[in-house]
């Protein structure tokens, strides 16, 4: 192996392409989408077409492409080392590079992209071959209509405390009957199916968990309210309601035998090891957008030749943001690199998420501070106030900063079972 920090030709072209498209096409529409609470489907269709025309690279468009990347066995030859023929996967690192770049343009768009989304990883990790074919099949060709899937874990009374979910499931003949509410579900209303986590008995804790693929239109499965959010307003966040919802046993993820122990819970958790670096990469993209904006603003509006204390402190602020983002990016690439190498990365994934969320929030806050009141005004190409609203949730969803620290602590102190 080696220590190296150069992007492959593919990564570079992906970064350039996403960045260029973002600058000229996405950014100018970003604020409008935010105000309209949606990205027009026509645009999404065009975007998907473009991504597909890029061939294998479509695999790398952030979260929505994560699964495809893993499935396609996205490989490239390692140019370093004494075994040039050795193939190494760099799918996760590439996805992180793509996700950062797209989030730099518009993070909500990334969340809106058609595809299995966060529903992908649990199906990929736990489904039977038959289920994979059935649930992923429809995504292979979206020329006749865009499709989404979703991930339903959070409930009104159980967010970070995943083990505390109350949505119930009980076997009835060859079906399962589900009851409960899921909230804050990204793309929940338009998803063709959603991975729903439920419990056979809350007293069993994690061992009682079951994961189901619940399809749109299933009797008893409905959409509740659509959330009105601080930021990421173009992304759809829905409540899902299950009332005596009858789900066929063929939709129990992985089949009955999979749930001998804590399998259901682990399905939920395994998703995070894969998605946290991607969420971190997105946060860095937003943070970098604010940082770039602040740098340009200072270059254009401040007389750099004037030596004043305030300018020196602005320089320090910029430098601090810049390096914290860079530090988080390296932690993110490292977590992704470990995933690509097939090594455990739970601690590193949490580190990337915790540091990226905070670094990016600081970047958005400081950028407004540096630009002054001008930075708080919403207008064309002036998106600081939007990024400020968009970024906050990155230290909350996919595990709050506090949860990440619990994950890290447990790995630093093996005897620590719970606080």
């Amino acid at each position: 192996m080696t220590i190296e920090f150069s992007l492959s030709a593919r990564q570079k072209s992906l970064k350039d392409m996403v960045g260029g498209f973002g600058r000229s096409i996405i950014r100018p529409q970003s604020l409008q989408w935010d105000l309209e609470h949606a990205v027009p489907e026509a645009f999404l269709a065009r975007f998907v077409e473009m991504a597909q025309s890029m061939g294998g690279a479509s695999a790398s468009w952030g979260v929505q492409g994560l699964g495809a990347a893993a499935d396609a066995g996205d490989v490239e030859s390692s140019k370093i080392g004494d075994a040039p023929s050795k193939k190494k996967s760099s799918a996760m690192v590439t996805s992180c590079i793509g996700a950062e770049e797209l989030a730099w343009s518009d993070a909500a768009l990334l969340l809106c992209l058609p595809g299995p989304g966060l529903g992908g990883p649990p199906v990929r990790g736990s489904a039977t071959p038959e289920q994979k074919e059935r649930f992923f099949g429809p995504f292979k060709d979206m020329s006749k209509g865009l499709k989404w899937a979703a991930y339903g874990l959070t409930e009104p009374n159980a967010g970070s405390d995943v083990a505390g979910i109350r949505t119930s499931c009980r076997k009835d003949g060859r079906d399962w009957i589900l009851n409960g509410r899921k909230c804050f579900i990204t793309n929940g209303a338009r998803a063709s199916w959603t991975v729903i986590f439920a419990t056979i008995d809350p007293t069993l804790g994690r061992a009682g968990h079951r994961a189901f693929v619940v399809e749109k239109g299933t009797p008893g499965f409905s959409v509740g309210r659509i959330e009105d959010k601080m930021g990421l307003r173009a992304s759809e966040t829905a409540e899902l309601v299950l009332e005596d919802c009858r789900v066929p046993e063929a939709n129990l993820l992985g089949g009955e035998e999979r749930y001998q122990s804590k399998e259901g819970f682990l399905t939920a958790m395994k998703t995070f090891d894969n998605t946290r670096p991607l969420v971190a990469a997105m946060a860095i993209g937003i943070g970098r957008a604010a940082y770039d904006y602040a740098c340009d603003f200072v270059k254009e509006n401040y007389a750099l030749a004037r030596h004043t204390a305030r300018y020196t402190s602005i320089a320090e602020k910029l430098a601090r943001i810049g390096r914290r983002l860079e530090a988080a990016r390296l932690l993110t690439w490292r977590a992704a690199f470990l995933a690509d190498e097939g090594q455990p990365n739970a601690k590193e994934a949490s580190m990337s998420k915790a540091s990226a969320g905070q670094a990016a929030i600081a970047a958005c806050i400081e950028a407004i501070e540096i630009c002054g009141a001008e930075g708080s005004i919403a207008k064309d190409h002036q998106l600081l106030e939007k990024w400020f609203r968009d970024i906050k949730v990155y230290d909350i969803f996919e595990g709050t900063g506090q949860i990440q620290r619990i994950v890290i602590s447990k790995r630093l102190f093996p005897d620590l079972k719970a606080f």
Partner: protein, 390 residues
């Protein structure tokens, strides 16, 4: 590609480094009290190439590049952060000669007892630049002035001295000179320092010393100061790692209120935060070192310089914070010299003063990001010279 895995060659070197590091850690107090490395440890460190593995073979280094250099510095500093300093100024001297001097002059730099004199007791009162003056006389320069905090000055035979050649040009009027011990060169008494007790710092009085101008090229001097400070940042990572390791172990065995103190969130989260800082600092240092090894033009060097500035600021902050938290989480025991963590805290502050302090590194990074050509004023480790806006 993007990869975070040391090569097999790196690992061999790190394993050897780790062995020495353990020996160093076991004798930290002996080294400290003796004011220098015991001879067996010093020769083991020299044999391993501490301070010179990264230097080109032409100056007597191993030619392994800066990535190898920072890997080894971290390992050794994790044992005792004072080691590289206790070996004297030879590493810095050889680095200065290899970056600044002609190949002929630099030839045996790594084998020479040398020191680098850049600091001064105080800023010049009336103008930017150094107070030590170099005046051209016939075939050479004559130097007058006072340098401070010179590592290993007492034993050095050769010095690289930074002095003002043109007083009207501020930092742009600085040159680097090769000075030999002898007439007009006097090392003052060793000073007592807050930390890094094993290192010998002293002043240097130049009174008509003969100097050979080795470089007045700002770009070369920027390279030297940046690499010099980056190697120091690698030591900060080693120090932070050591402080982190002893603290993690301590809070796991220390019990209060019926359980290990590590099982309280206030303690565990602090440790988790420092774990992130240490990992991030290491990655930043690796990347900066890799960029220097890969740099082949001005653009590449600027990227390396920006990455170095970030790595330096982050590593210094991390070392100080990790050691500070380390003492804190040891409670009263942390204040006692029975535990090494108080030494790490003192060393951390001392380390961050050597090379390029975090505040200077921040101004350098900002200057590059704002499109200013990185000039010497931003890289010189003097409090009065750095500002991204001048």
């Amino acid at each position: 590609m993007i990869a975070f895995a040391p090569s097999d060659d790196h690992k061999l070197m790190m394993d050897a480094g780790q062995k020495l590091s353990k020996a160093l850690a076991g004798r930290v107090r002996e080294t400290e009290k003796g004011g220098g490395l015991p001879e067996d440890l010093a020769s083991a460190a020299r044999e391993l190439g501490v301070g010179v593995v990264h230097l080109p073979e032409a100056v007597g280094g191993a030619g392994l590049g800066l990535v190898a250099g920072v890997l080894l510095e971290e390992e050794i500093a994790a044992g005792d952060p004072a080691t590289a300093f206790a070996l004297g100024g030879t590493g810095a001297y050889a680095l200065a000669m290899s970056e600044l001097a002609s190949p002929e002059l630099a030839q045996d730099a790594a084998a020479t007892a040398g020191a680098v004199a850049f600091g001064e007791p105080r800023p010049h009162r009336d103008r930017p630049g150094l107070s030590t003056i170099a005046t051209k006389k016939a075939d050479a320069f004559v130097l007058h002035g006072e340098k401070a905090y010179v590592l290993g000055a007492g034993k050095a035979e050769r010095f690289v001295v930074f002095a003002q050649v043109d007083e009207s040009k501020g930092e742009r009027g600085i040159g680097a000179f090769l000075v030999s011990r002898g007439d007009g060169v006097k090392a003052t008494a060793r000073v007592r320092t807050l930390g890094l007790d094993a290192a010998s710092f002293s002043g240097l009085v130049l009174d008509g010393a003969r100097g050979v101008l080795i470089s007045d090229e700002p770009r070369a001097m920027v390279r030297f100061f940046a690499k010099h400070a980056l190697l120091n940042a690698a030591r900060c990572v080693g120090l932070a790692r050591a402080a982190f390791d002893v603290t993690r172990a301590y809070v796991e065995q220390r019990r209060a209120f019926g359980k290990p103190v590590a099982h309280f969130q206030a303690v565990a989260f602090t440790v988790a935060d420092r774990a992130m800082d240490v990992e991030a600092s290491r990655a930043l240092v690796w990347r900066a070192a890799w960029l220097w090894d890969a740099a082949s033009d001005v653009e590449g060097e600027n990227a390396a310089l920006l990455a170095s500035a970030r790595a330096i600021a982050h590593a210094h902050e991390t070392a100080m914070q990790t050691a500070d938290d380390g003492v804190q989480l040891h409670g009263g025991a942390g204040f006692m010299r029975d535990y090494p963590v108080e030494k790490y805290m003192r060393d951390a502050k001392q380390l961050s003063l050597y090379g390029m302090p975090a505040a200077c590194a921040e101004q350098l990074a900002a200057a590059i990001e704002l499109g200013r050509a990185p000039d010497l004023a931003l890289v010189l480790p003097f409090a009065d010279s750095q500002s991204a806006f001048t």
